[in-house]
């Protein structure tokens, strides 16, 4: 039987996102230049939540988009074709500070693909990375700017992020294979 260890409760997740929102606000004084882009799928609801929190801090709405990286992955010929989700970026990213948002940072390959995909939409002034969980095991020189929680993991473990938007209560758990 696989073993489940809680990493973040709903309350802890909310506190982590609130802290990340404040850190984004602290790092980026020019609020009008910041846009949020969630990486499909887990990053998209998180980007929306961060957008709401940042909107409360700044008193103005923060443009939020979603990005699917399937077409830019580096393992397309080694796996079944991924389910492609919609990419919706209803603003120009050129000259903006784009905060990429994802649920779990692992090998870093998704983030590389995301930066590649984002380039097709314009030339951001800078790209920052916010993740709910950093579980280590990077395969590329990529580091998050904003982290909800660092979790040391073994390679064969998996991190499950459950979000209310996807139909299950907010929670992050570590799954250890039996």
């Amino acid at each position: 039987m696989p073993e489940f260890t809680p990493i973040l409760t709903a309350a802890a997740m909310h506190r982590a996102l609130t802290r990340i929102a404040h850190e984004i606000a602290e790092r980026n004084e020019a609020s009008a230049e910041v846009v949020l882009v969630g990486i499909q799928r887990g990053g998209v609801p998180l980007a929306r939540r961060l957008g709401t929190l940042l909107g409360q801090i700044w008193g103005q709405a923060v443009p939020t988009g979603s990005l699917d990286v399937s077409m830019h992955r580096d393992d397309l010929d080694q796996r079944v074709a991924p389910n492609v989700q919609p990419t919706v970026i209803p603003f120009d990213v050129t000259g903006k500070t784009v905060v990429l948002v994802d649920d779990v940072l692992f090998s870093g390959r998704t983030v590389r693909a995301a930066m590649d995909a984002l380039n097709d939409f314009g030339r951001p002034r800078r790209i920052q990375l916010a993740v709910l969980v950093d579980r280590g095991h990077r395969e590329l020189p990529i580091k998050a700017d904003f982290v909800g929680k660092n979790v040391p993991t073994a390679r064969n473990e998996s991190v499950r992020v459950c979000l209310a938007e996807a139909g299950s209560p907010d929670e992050v758990v570590l799954e250890k294979p039996s």
Partner: protein, 313 residues
């Protein structure tokens, strides 16, 4: 959603889920074509051969552009300028191409089953771009995509396919796809070109054009395939036009929101009045746009069908 196939040979063998996977994936690729940068690196480093042994402009250019937009390298091969003219067999031509380490072969051939044959003798992925009067799977997928995009659904819709059914691979693929997705398909045309045997595919057959179009949500017009007919199947094109051509009087009988489709090339004044082809009821040019997205989706999915069958995290 799942796709585990290395080839796209026909619609007949696809499940509903597989057809819907193509349509859903195509939606994302349609968005790519609407961006400033219309290219993604999904097939970077892959080589595609477009082996068009039978003439084609529309399908070939659509495949070529979709391959380019996926960043694949392309070799174009047409019957007129090839060693097939010098007596080489299809198998030898294909094996020579494969010796160049190509990854995909998109084939159009006048012989039904040619893509299936190639898929058995080659390691590359084979995509059927039309084989004889058998199937034209990407056309059916783009037709289904267009109908779903315009009407929001396919299930329960009345689709009438009007024209040369007997010699049409588009009709066969459309019938497989649309009946499988729950549409009610009616076939109409001269009795010589619409044999009753098609009722076995789950269609209604009628020779009365007014009856065929009256309740239709979609009217899909097919061209008379002069080149595939070995003998004259009806007295004259003029008679065909007067009996079955879509003109203003007939259009007035249809539902006000019935859409007109045509796989092209259209013969203005034969199966369709020029004004109707250019009217707001016609989605003929949107079919062309959607063809690109569907072909990108098919290449993308088939590429994944070659990998180990596991889903990466």
């Amino acid at each position: 959603m799942s796709w585990n196939r290395k080839h796209l040979l026909d619609i007949e063998s696809l499940t509903v889920e597989e057809i819907l996977t193509v349509l859903d994936t195509a939606r994302a690729f349609k968005a790519v074509s609407e961006r400033a940068i219309k290219k993604v690196p999904a097939l970077r480093g892959k080589t595609v051969v477009n082996l068009f042994v039978e003439p084609s402009t529309r399908t070939r250019t659509s495949f070529e552009l979709s391959e380019q937009r996926l960043s694949a390298d392309i070799i174009n091969f047409t019957a007129e300028a090839s060693s097939l003219k010098k007596g080489e067999t299809l198998k030898d031509t294909a094996r020579n191409l494969e010796a160049l380490n190509v990854d995909f072969i998109v084939i159009r051939h006048s012989a039904s089953g040619a893509p299936h044959f190639l898929s058995r003798v080659l390691h590359a992925s084979v995509i059927n771009a039309g084989d004889g009067a058998h199937e034209h799977p990407t056309q059916a997928l783009l037709d289904a995509f267009t109908i779903r995009e315009k009407k929001g659904r396919i299930e329960g819709l009345n689709v009438t396919i009007l024209g040369d059914i007997l010699y049409s691979r588009v009709a066969r693929s459309d019938i497989w796809a649309l009946t499988r997705l729950g549409a009610k398909v009616t076939l109409c045309g001269p009795s010589t070109l619409v044999p009753r045997v098609f009722e076995q595919m789950g269609c209604r057959v009628t020779y009365n054009v007014e009856e065929a179009i009256r309740d239709a949500d979609i009217i899909n017009l097919l061209r008379i395939q002069h080149e595939r007919q070995r003998k004259t199947m009806f007295p004259s094109l003029n008679e065909y036009t007067s009996l079955f051509g879509l003109n203003k009087a007939r259009l007035a009988l249809t539902k006000p929101d019935a859409l007109i489709m045509h796989p092209g090339p259209i013969n203005r004044g034969v199966e369709i009045d020029s004004d109707i082809a250019d009217s707001g009821r016609s989605v003929i040019l949107e079919q062309v746009t959607n063809g690109l997205a569907v072909r990108m989706a098919v290449l993308f999915l088939v590429n994944g069908g070659k990998g180990p069958q596991e889903v990466a995290p």
